[in-house]
């Protein structure tokens, strides 16, 4: 029983519901509980690379810090004793509580998100959305086409760089290339749109109608999916209880 095997649609719904629930909790203990609880569950029921987890976490630590001080400096007028002044704004006890809550919320959101992102294979997610979520195959297969498009786009981009270099645009350094990138957007898009048309025709030529279809990979719904979902919901319940108490 791991989060890697969990049905992606059920996992998606559970994680999203938890985040929504968190948005209505205004005490620091609930997001704190969810944050550490999620880490514990991730530790027990997955083998995510913690190094990757840490790297993904860095930008959100920045966001959490930004949220913390924005809420302190630009906080609303709140009741309670004034604890200190920050850039001319009276910071009360309530302000501090709110600021800590909101920045912990950023961290709890991120932990939940990473639990989903790091244990979910995109292809299985789309298959599952099609099989359990009744997503139209037309859209699902267009997403797959989109995915297949990444290497094609990368090739086109390289070609564009080379042709522009041939015409004398200085593109030796990485900085030159980044600075020139916006000028490539239109030719890149134009090429991509032409490719899209060809791909659509060849899909139709091979008999793709976009109606319901059978698939080789079946994404099952098992009892374990509900068990893991229940664990996450229980974690949220305990955290809410700890916060409200």
């Amino acid at each position: 029983m791991t989060f890697h095997e969990m049905n992606p649609t059920i996992k998606f719904l559970t994680v999203t519901c938890l985040m929504f629930g968190l948005a209505f909790m205004y005490n620091p203990w609930t997001p704190l509980g969810v944050f550490f609880g999620t880490l514990a569950l991730q530790f027990i029921f997955s083998d995510v690379s913690w190094k990757r987890w840490g790297l993904f976490m860095i930008p959100f630590l920045l966001t959490a810090v930004g949220t913390l001080w924005t809420t302190l400096v630009f906080g609303k007028e709140a009741s309670g004793e004034v604890m200190f002044k920050l850039f001319g704004n009276d910071v009360t006890e309530e302000n501090v509580m709110l600021a800590v809550t909101l920045s912990l919320r950023v961290l709890a959101f991120t932990a939940l998100s990473l639990l989903f992102t790091l244990t979910t294979d995109p292809k299985r997610f789309v298959y599952s959305l099609m099989q359990q979520g009744k997503l139209s195959p037309k859209i699902a297969y267009s997403v797959f086409v989109g995915f297949r498009f990444f290497p094609i786009l990368k090739n086109e981009l390289m070609q564009l760089y080379e042709t522009h270099a041939l015409r004398g645009v200085p593109l030796e350094t990485r900085r030159d290339r980044i600075r020139h990138a916006p000028k490539l957007l239109i030719p890149l898009l134009a090429g991509a749109i032409r490719q899209a048309e060809r791909i659509a025709f060849s899909m139709e030529a091979r008999g793709f109608t976009g109606e319901g279809r059978s698939t080789y990979e079946v994404i099952p719904v098992t009892r374990n999916d509900f068990l893991l979902a229940a664990l996450l919901v229980a974690l949220f319940g305990v955290s809410v209880w700890a916060g409200v108490r």
Partner: protein, 191 residues
């Protein structure tokens, strides 16, 4: 909703979503760098970037659902290629897409001039701001600050997404790649 769609229109929608998912993700990192310094307001003035695919897709394809679907697809692909905001971003995409779609629905999917495109950018700003308000707990901030955030986001939605989206699509139209789509037919009929 998809009955009247040709496959090539759906594939175009998906390709646009892929390209802009990459752009979106790049700007998330730009925003993040700022946000550590100046707080969540860092995202506001560039927020229009994240609505632009709705406007471009609706302007080119001109069918109900184009604005909504393209934004949701872009968000989904963004998540798959590594936006750590994760599943929440799909929800964001749905909400922004609905805001943009509403503007086109208001005109009965008949008008696609600059004002409607800017209205779509504004619509996406409104719905996405409601979401930010709830999820980001903006009620903790002073009303003036919140109003500034909203004004910045609305302006950005109208200018970057509305005006920018139109300029970009018109440039694409000039390359001739859009000959088979509604945007080119409309132009042919009316000169």
């Amino acid at each position: 909703m998809l009955k009247s769609w040709k496959l090539k229109e759906i594939v175009l929608l998906s390709i646009l979503s892929v390209v802009f998912a990459v752009v979106y993700l790049a700007f998330v990192h730009v925003g993040n760098l700022w946000a550590g310094l100046i707080g969540p307001i860092a995202y506001e003035w560039i927020f229009g970037i994240w609505f632009i695919v709705s406007i471009i897709a609706a302007y080119i394809i001109r069918k109900p659902g184009a604005a909504f679907l393209s934004e949701v697809l872009a968000a989904t692909i963004e998540m798959m290629i590594g936006n750590a905001i994760g599943p929440r971003i799909i929800l964001v995409g749905i909400i922004q897409g609905l805001g943009a779609e509403a503007a086109f629905a208001l005109t009965g999917y008949k008008r696609y001039d600059l004002w409607v495109l800017m209205l779509a950018g504004f619509g996406a700003a409104v719905t996405s701001f409601i979401y930010t308000y709830v999820m980001g707990g903006l009620s903790a901030l002073s009303p003036t600050y919140v109003a500034t955030m909203f004004a910045l986001r609305a302006t950005s939605g109208m200018l970057i997404a509305g005006l920018g989206g139109k300029i970009l699509s018109d440039l694409l139209l000039r390359t001739g790649a859009l000959e088979g789509y509604a945007v080119a037919r409309r132009r042919g009929a009316h000169g």
